[in-house]
């Protein structure tokens, strides 16, 4: 597709944020996903944020049914899907209404004009047509009759207008692909492969895509196209990966590196089900997936498999963690490896099933009866979910303990380019299954004492059924230190409670120290986060520094135990800001453990932090310091002038 018209050459941009929005039946997730892949292949750095309703098909045309996909592409390494879109593609009035407020002044709106009939306007709650009432006057609005142009383009396929119309998302994709100079071939190849079973659909989608692309190219609708040059990424092979996929692959990798079969017990739950789906496809790795009758059974079956020597996993979200609590408690008592993956979502109760929140941290820490400590690992980016699975498996197997992995909806569904690791250099997990007795009875016979611990890790033997001579019984009743026989002795109980706690606390000594990003070395404020807020916090730190001020940033991967230098780190700074998408959970742990007056920044809107929100909180904190480097009135947030905002 060569350019025919004499046009202004593409304008260069350092980055752009595009949001595709439409009805949940309009295919916006596919559209966003394809734009993302095209951008990845082009060499941009990127980050995505899909957002969809909890209902599978909310009433068409309503605000409740709006589905959106935001993607941030750039010529440099970026950290977040972007605070606000600069281009909004709205397939109907509801999509416009639900999203337009996020668009900054001067932003671009591309509308499907055909969808703006009286009924649709009414369904979206518009009293007047926003296209004519002046409410969009601060934006650059492009009204394009996408539905009719798509139907027209698809005529030659013989598809009925009603069917052809469904390709309009590819029309929009074609148009935006032209606008940002995205490569065409990968999308066409994908369409051909994805819909291979339905040649009419391939033809319709292809024609719609091309029609959209040509419209941009040949008309003067847009002053010029834009160019977002490739980013300079470190050399390597890349793929674009969501957190859920990365985590599922990480679990497969962990099992391979441990030499153990992977067993997944799971029950369908949003936003964790994709972990079950992905692992169910990987049977050629010996993966067994068990869709249980409920969350309890899912965890129970996994624990049973752990007893039998599998790398056992159960995947869920908050409501499922409630139900698994008793099994996790038993796993603490049995001291068997068990990975509990919690893809957090908005709570309490059913809450916001498709929206993100970090509100299960204290649940993972304390949500069991008795003293039942469990290590917690929280990956910070979608790609890091792969490494987190390996790390959690390492802890579980090495220390014979259940381990929580806390991700969330934004990590699970968000995507980023991932430089593929050399699989031969992934960490090896030593399963160290016990094969020999470790105790001799008074009568001289050898036997296994299942609670005789390794002196350095305090881990107990993992002797799996099938091993002759190591037959033993374990259970949820308190066990005598060493022999593991049932014991109600009060002093023994205290010793066992303290041993289990010491085992988990002792993990800290073998963890890498928390890394602090403090390039100038003179920061007075530390921003401390955990998990998925990484991008927003690191982005805020960058902007603060671009404004000539200093700030330090650390993002925890290990939340229980904390890395052993964390106390020293938080005491090193005058103020510590702890942003979380909950009402302040990490901040309680930090304040409680280290007696520092950490400041909490919280947000619970089902969406991630915006960089600007964290930045403003840091500036406010800086302004409050003695001899503040910030003028009393504060400075306006520094924006990256190169980016189209």
């Amino acid at each position: 597709m060569s350019s025919t018209a004499e046009r202004t050459p593409p304008r260069k941009l350092a980055g752009v944020v595009v949001r595709f929005a439409g009805d949940s039946g309009d295919g916006m997730q596919v559209t966003g996903d394809r734009f993302t892949t095209g951008s990845a292949l082009f060499g941009n750095d990127l980050a995505t944020f899909p957002s969809f309703p909890a209902e599978i098909r909310a009433p068409a045309g309503t605000l409740a049914g709006v589905s959106a996909f935001q993607v941030h592409i750039a010529d440099h390494d970026i950290l977040t899907p972007g605070d606000a879109p600069s281009v909004l593609v709205a397939m109907n009035p509801a999509a416009l209404r639900a999203n337009v407020a996020d668009l900054p002044v001067g932003g671009t709106v591309i509308l499907n004009a055909d969808a703006f009939d009286e009924r649709s306007l009414e369904k979206a709650g518009y009293e007047k047509d926003p296209r004519t009432d002046g409410s969009l006057s601060t934006y650059q609005v492009h009204e394009i009759p996408m539905t009719s142009l798509t139907i027209e383009a698809c005529k030659e396929t013989g598809a009925k207008p009603r069917d052809a119309e469904r390709s309009k998302n590819f029309f929009a994709l074609g148009l935006v692909s032209w606008l940002f100079g995205r490569p065409v071939e990968p999308t066409l190849a994908w369409i051909a492969e994805r819909y291979a079973k339905a040649p009419v659909v391939v033809a319709a989608n292809t024609l719609a895509f091309k029609a959209g692309y040509h419209l941009g190219e040949t008309t003067e609708l847009f002053e010029s196209a834009y160019e977002v040059p490739p980013s300079v990424l470190p050399p390597g092979t890349y793929t674009n990966v969501t957190g859920n996929t990365a985590l599922a692959w990480g679990l497969v990798a962990a099992a391979e590196r441990a030499g153990l079969p992977l067993f997944l017990g799971s029950y369908p739950i949003t936003p964790a089900s994709d972990l079950l789906h992905e692992l169910a496809r990987q049977k050629q790795f010996g993966v067994r997936t068990f869709q249980a009758e409920d969350e309890i059974s899912a965890a129970g079956a996994a624990l049973g498999a752990a007893f039998g020597g599998s790398l056992a996993v159960t995947t869920t979200s908050g409501p499922g963690v409630d139900l698994k609590a008793e099994t996790i408690g038993l796993a603490v008592s049995l001291e068997l490896p068990l990975l509990v993956i919690d893809v957090q979502r908005g709570g309490p109760s059913t809450g916001l099933p498709t929206k993100t929140e970090q509100s299960d941290l204290l649940h993972a820490m304390f949500g069991r009866h008795g003293e039942a400590p469990v290590p917690i690992v929280a990956p910070r980016t979608p790609a890091e979910c792969f490494d987190a699975a390996l790390e959690a498996a390492r802890l579980a197997v090495t220390y014979r303990t259940p381990v929580f992995v806390l991700t969330d909806a934004s990590l699970a569904n968000g995507a980023e380019p991932w430089r593929l690791p050399d699989v031969d250099r992934l960490p090896v997990i030593e399963a160290n299954l016990t094969t020999e007795p470790n105790h001799v009875r008074a009568d001289g016979t050898a036997e296994l004492w299942p609670y005789l611990r390794d002196a350095s890790t305090l881990a107990r033997p993992w002797a799996v059924p099938g091993t002759p001579g190591l037959e033993h019984r374990i259970g949820g009743l308190e066990k005598a230190d060493g022999s593991g026989n049932v014991s109600y002795d009060p002093v023994n109980h205290e010793r066992m409670v303290r041993l289990r706690a010491a085992k988990i606390a002792g993990i800290a000594s073998a963890l890498a120290p928390v890394e602090v990003d403090d390039p100038s070395g003179d920061a007075r404020v530390l921003v401390l986060g955990w998990g998925s807020t990484y991008g927003a916090l690191a982005g805020a730190a960058r902007r603060i520094r671009a404004g000539g001020l200093s700030v330090a940033h650390a993002q925890l991967l290990h939340l229980n135990p904390f890395p052993s230098n964390l106390g020293e780190v938080v005491r090193r700074y005058e103020r510590v800001l702890v942003p979380e998408t909950n009402l302040g959970q990490l901040v309680r742990l930090v304040r409680g453990d280290f007696l520092v007056d950490a400041v909490s920044l919280t947000k619970v809107q089902g969406t991630p932090f915006k960089v600007g929100e964290v930045e403003q909180a840091v500036l406010d904190l800086l302004a409050g310091l003695d001899d503040s480097p910030v003028p009393a009135a504060g400075v306006p947030p520094v924006v990256d002038p190169e980016e189209l905002q």
Partner: protein, 341 residues
């Protein structure tokens, strides 16, 4: 795990060194003895045998055997055992449970383990009471039962464990009782040898909180007239000299007990445990709803159906054979990739 012959063992080889702590006189002792006597006869290895239990008096069972064992969570033993049995098809996995454990808090796991036909031998000790928590009514207690939690009598309707198991289409369903070691051993042996989920209800006396609950059925002097022993391929007759028989009433579609002399030998139902349709087995299970009524014991149903673990592992093997053993590096490259030099 080895190919060498299974060593010859005796009861003491299958007993652990732990002191048995049930109340003196508890029916659990005789069930334990039956199992410990049977295990040496099964041609299995200690290291390949696992007993999994939930919570309750019955659930202490694994502690008294020298096999692998897990005393787990109230009601969850079938779920835990499912994970073990599916991931380790080489093991013999037994579940020991009680009426509260299996039918109340764990009812959901039980029916699903049976429905899936997981390769488990499930022994349900039914004493119609909560023993470990000191005497509340259970889901099998008779209506009207006065207990600590039902001072004016229970208003619950009890479960019939066998009907429940048959409703879940369990492939092996049987009943035995703690007063007949030979019958227990024969029934447990059949259950063990069955491939798939085998469910055995064991009528068990809790002499502390529900003493004599089954006396009318299992007492030495009552047994002959009260228990209906089921034998595959044989007319269902019982009582002194087999004077009573079970007859299918064609008009009502139900089973009744009749004097053989009155109805004639040909009218007596011939037991067929292999019928694919669980309907007739269900009628047999419903023949009695209290200890006053003649109650069938033995194997009600034993049909062959692929067990769940074999199906799970069969898929794994089939996919692996078709695609070749998984390659991690290839998996990571299975999406769209690009290279930066």
């Amino acid at each position: 795990m080895t190919d060498t012959a299974v060593p010859v063992t005796s009861r003491k080889d299958w007993a652990s060194d732990q002191e048995v702590r049930w109340c003196p006189g508890c029916g659990d002792y005789s069930i334990l003895a039956a199992v410990q006597l049977l295990l040496p006869e099964l041609g299995v290895r200690r290291e390949n045998t696992v007993f999994v239990s939930g919570i309750g008096c019955a659930a202490r069972f694994p502690y008294y055997l020298s096999t692998y064992g897990m005393h787990s969570i109230h009601g969850r033993a079938p779920a835990i055992a499912t994970g073990l049995a599916v991931s380790r098809p080489d093991l013999d996995v037994w579940v020991v449970t009680g009426d509260g454990d299996a039918l109340s808090i764990g009812g959901n796991h039980l029916i699903h383990a049976l429905r899936r036909n997981v390769n488990l031998t499930i022994l349900l000790f039914n004493n119609q009471i909560y023993g470990l928590t000191k005497g509340q009514f259970s889901p099998t207690s008779e209506s009207g039962k006065v207990t600590k939690s039902t001072p004016f009598g229970s208003i619950d309707r009890p479960f019939n464990p066998l009907s429940l198991a048959l409703g879940a289409e369990a492939t092996f369903v049987a009943r035995t009782h703690d007063m007949d070691r030979k019958h227990m051993m024969a029934t447990f042996r059949r259950a063990h040898d069955h491939k798939g989920a085998a469910f055995v209800e064991v009528l068990q006396n809790c002499n502390v909180f529900n003493d004599g609950a089954f006396e009318g059925l299992t007492g030495r002097s009552q047994r002959e007239e009260a228990l209906i022993p089921l034998e595959h391929g044989q007319p269902i007759r019982f009582g002194h000299d087999g004077h009573l028989g079970v007859v299918l009433d064609g008009r009502t579609g139900s089973l009744t007990v009749a004097e053989v002399a009155e109805v004639g030998e040909d009218a007596v139902l011939v037991h067929d445990e292999t019928r694919d349709d669980p309907g007739l087995a269900f009628l047999l299970a419903r023949l009695s709803s209290s200890v006053d009524q003649p109650t069938p014991v033995g194997v009600l149903r034993a049909v062959e159906r692929p067990d769940y673990g074999s199906l799970v592992n069969g898929q794994v093997e089939e996919v692996t054979a078709r695609r070749g053993r998984g390659d991690l590096a290839a998996l990571l490259r299975s999406g769209t990739t690009w290279t930066v030099d």
